[in-house]
Symmetry: C3
Subunit: 244 residues, 3 copies
């Protein structure tokens, strides 16, 4: 028996908008506790983790663990057709994930499950001291600011500020955000803007977002649902400044 019902398809839509721009294929693991996905892109630059607890769902029936291997682009095409006030139901038959969106009409999509040798990447465990709550909208706009001068951006944290900065051929850009946190150390690392923009597509997952960085360490972006019922996180490898 496998049946999950969720009254807000936007959690899936926004997650897979980001995920499908990072990885082509994924394995979703579902068991009695909830749903999990771990993936890493081909170049091993971005690691993505999604988990949704069973308590988040209106109906959650999963009597034995199941692995769903999916083409993320095909899944995203279907998720885009949902409306935020539709009720979404997930079931399976032989070889398909069945997504039903019920609103003014009933829409049923069967997405073919794919064959996939999938080694779930192990989640890197990086101890961070710096954790800064920041609205994704602020981050998104800052990246658009930086983008006019460069395709790289440095993130720098000190006691007071998070500073995003880049030096370009014709202009330089610097965005300063007062974080209001009690932070006693500094950190600085450089990332590729194109990778950051992929993550930020998950913007609507949650308003409860924060990021962590360490000097020349990965950038981690966390988007957390209320009551710990869901988490979407991204871990993005830094670029060495000498690279080109």
């Amino acid at each position: 028996m496998f049946k999950l019902v969720l009254s807000d398809p936007s959690i899936f839509k926004t997650s897979f908008d980001a995920i499908s721009s990072i990885v082509d294929e994924v394995q979703i693991e579902v068991d009695s506790d909830g749903l999990r996905l771990n993936a890493i892109d081909r170049s091993h630059i971005t690691y993505v983790h999604l988990e949704l607890k069973e308590s988040l769902f209106d109906i959650y029936e999963c009597d034995k663990p199941i692995k769903l291997n999916l083409d993320t682009e095909e899944l995203m095409k279907v998720l885009k057709r949902s409306k935020n006030d539709d009720v979404m139901e997930l079931t399976v038959d032989v070889g398909n994930l069945i997504l039903t969106f019920e609103g003014a009409v009933k829409k049923t999509f069967k997405v073919k499950l794919i064959d996939l040798e999938y080694d779930t990447p192990s989640q890197p465990d990086i101890p961070y001291d710096i954790k800064i709550p920041i609205p994704v909208s602020i981050l998104k706009e800052a990246i658009q600011d930086i983008e006019i001068v460069s395709d790289r951006v440095s993130f720098e944290v000190d006691e007071d500020k998070l500073t995003l900065e880049a030096v370009g051929d014709f202009a330089d850009a610097k965005i300063e955000y007062l974080h209001g946190e009690k932070i006693n150390e500094k950190a600085r690392a450089v990332y590729a803007i194109s990778n950051i923009k992929e993550m930020l597509k998950a913007e609507k997952f949650s308003d409860n977002t924060y990021l962590s960085i360490g000097t020349d360490m990965p950038l981690t972006l966390y988007l957390e649902l209320l009551n710990e019922e869901g988490l979407l996180s991204f871990l993005l490898a830094p670029r060495l400044e000498e690279e080109d």
Copy 2:
């Protein structure tokens, strides 16, 4: 004497948005009763019929029948420049249809009449038992849903539902609409999505819309103005499922 005044140019704008995507050239026949247009596309797949009764117009002066041969694309370019709260006036001079839109400013467009050997296609008379009222917006969205998996769609009607369905390479899609009509038979036919999308451009013509189908028969979409003052209808030939 030829002068027609209408306080809502959107009826023309939305009609010709659909018509100009189906046929390049048309003949509009005007007499003391009203205005009529019958046309069929080059491939003889879509037949379109428009009629607007004289009572719909604020001023209607047409003392002898007249035939206006027009390039639909040129006419549409002009109609697009109207605003919904403009007053539209149609007159003629030698060789031109003159369209005036009067709002904050007065806009006058002269569109050249064209030479055209025009055999008005006779309207196919197809007896249908199945007539289903359905908002064009529902139909439009269902077609967008189906489009992600295929370029063809089957329409199927039974006692309870209108079902649009398609099978694709990576996913299948099915949209079910409870029609709420008293229908005692079934029907099923397949159509090309691109042709359906052309018709649906006429969306704003009326909220009073319904469709008819028969097994392997044309799909008919009717858009009717209040008080029978106007009708826009499309008749779309079915595709054989064996075709490719």
Copy 3:
């Protein structure tokens, strides 16, 4: 000491949206009275003049005259990143114009000053008797109307009306605007639509706009801020109707 602070960056944004589409490089002259820019495009078709008085600014410190040579496209990229409710600050360091936009975050952009042999074009002094106040939105829409039939437009003024008109291959277009001014003479000239569209990008500079024309003379468009604190004007050379 050079520091200008303005609480409405949109004046700069809309000005340079137009200016950057007309000229690639400009010299902005700043002294204790205010800021001035005069420029002419490579083909000597459009002359643009911008002046902003010191009283317009919230803070205005400029103890010695300064000339800022800038690439208009690079400057425009930066100005686009401002929000209308940001506070904009302009300062300089060696070789850079520094623009700061302060709102929810603080954005600092350094735009490189360029080397430029700049002969400030002298402003043509054309005595006009005809001055017609007209909202830029009306002008913009009329140009879009005309554009569907031609790439040239004639402006004609008489006692009652400003008439924009063009004759096309498939259709003609005429837009009549009742100017409500006391004008005792007539004038007529033809302009290229592409050049007019460049000027109209400055739409949001001011609601206080008027135009002047003379027979076969340049078209002048004036956009004036309240209390004579700023002026943006464009002078556009006419096209001879025989040209092609």
